[in-house]
Amino acid sequence: MFKGTLAVFRRELAAYFATPLATVFIVIFLFAMGAFTFYLGGFYDSGQANLGIFFSFHPWLYLFLIPAIAMRLWAEERKSGTIELLLTLPIPLSAAVIGKFLAAWVFAGIALTLTFPMWMTVNFLGNPDNGVILASYLGSWLMAGGYLAIGSAVSAGTSNQVIAFVVSVVISFLFTIAGAPLVIDALSSILPLELLNTVSSFSFLTHFNAIMAGVIDLRDLVFFGTLTIFFLYVTAVLVDLRKAG
């Protein structure tokens, strides 16, 4: 399984860079990150030497940008017919699912790493807690993995990339805001507290905010890890279902 995963991973990662997708994505990602942080977030006016404002926009940017990476994962293979080749090569389906996911995740990681001038800026301006920043970066990458896994599963269900994008955004949105006051306040009058807590515990925001506070709690890591594995499993099931015609 390992050799298959590695081969698929390398091919997929190279595919991002063989097309303008990588450049376009990274430029827009960095531009949006900067614009949100400095203009919408009022980074300078906040007078704080930390990256809390910067990271607080990540879930909202990922919401649109990650489905843009994920939408091609399976839908494109189906459209171009290469899925027939991929699935008749002697590699297990899990190797294809994981290899594709890892390539997209590493690509998202590269884009995230390229935001390092933010980190340099804040270190130049003051004395931030670099431990918190590192935890936030790791948390952000984990969260990107969660969004990607959702996008992978949706992409496996369709051969239309536009549908894959739109549906991924909607599902990702639900997971993002599950814990936001908007949802919790609206549901608090109709749901009992335990159920409310369950809904809120599925929220990317809740878990990411916890990590952003600098506390790496095992529960938050387990949440993103489990969610990612679950949606990768759904991906494999959906690809397999299509084989049954």
Binding site: G4, A7, A15, L85, L87, T88, P90, A244
Partner: protein, 257 residues
């Protein structure tokens, strides 16, 4: 033991029965020409034999390995050229072949040697460093062929390998298949009836999901065992170079509803 064993293979898509019980055995040294009108179920049968589609009924084995229950050993022994020769357009021909070699456990010098051999056989040398999406239809087809024969598999399944090729390229591909034939079991689907006399040792005609004729070619003559619509068996002797009449008598091209 036959190298390809197809046993009662059937596939229904919703209400449509695409393949209704195909049984075939292909031995080493055989080149089986899989003939039939469009929509007869040729490609669907091949997709099931290669493990891409799950059959509704029946089974397929490659060198004794069941494609459904034991897919990886079966697919290791199999070279497959899918319909339309799909390939990753953003990769160069070399990159694509290297990816296929890697998934087949070949790397380093072994991968390089395998790619070189396949490239020489399919005459791809000139376009090796070009992205596949920029290649002509003929070259794309040959990239697909190179991928299928890369690991020198004992079983080869090719869905219309000469479709879209010019007469020279067709000739090259036919030569290649003839050359590989003695050591492999090969299934080739085609619409081109002349291809049968050129490369095949056996012809099978499929119509509306069923095998209607199956015969070995001997000295340019095919002795077909036929199966009529009412299930009765018959026999037809045909000239391998002139199959048109037999083909038209036995098959029906489905009319789109």
């Amino acid at each position: 033991m036959a190298m390809i064993e197809i046993d009662g293979l059937a596939k229904t898509f919703g209400p449509v029965a695409a393949v209704r019980g195909v049984t075939l055995n292909v031995d080493k040294g055989e080149v089986l020409g899989f003939l039939g009108p469009n929509g007869a179920g040729k490609s669907t049968t091949m997709k099931m034999v290669t493990g891409f589609l799950v059959p509704s009924a029946g089974s397929a084995r490659i060198c004794g390995h069941d494609v459904q229950s034991d897919p990886l050993p079966a697919q290791t022994l199999l070279g497959y050229l899918p319909e339309g020769a799909p390939a990753y357009g953003d990769m160069t021909a070399r990159g694509f072949l290297y990816f296929c070699a890697e998934t087949r456990g070949l790397k380093g010098a072994a991968a390089k040697a395998a790619i070189e051999a396949a490239v020489a056989k399919t005459e791809l040398g000139r376009v090796l460093e070009q992205p596949i999406e920029t290649l002509s239809k003929g070259f794309k087809r040959r990239v697909g062929l190179a991928q299928a024969i890369l690991h020198d598999p004992p079983v080869l399944i090719m869905d219309e390998p000469t479709d879209g090729l010019d007469p020279n390229q067709k000739h090259t591909v036919r030569e290649l298949i003839r050359e590989m034939a003695p050591t492999k079991a090969i299934i080739v689907s085609t619409h081109i009836l002349e291809e049968v006399a050129a490369i095949c040792t056996r012809a099978v005609i499929i119509d509306r999901g069923r095998v209607v004729a199956d015969g070995k070619i001997d000295g340019g003559v095919i002795h077909f065992a036929t199966k009529n619509a009412d299930g009765s068996a018959g026999e037809v002797i045909a000239d391998a170079r002139d199959l048109d009449g037999v083909f038209r008598a036995l098959t029906h091209t489905p009319v789109a509803a």
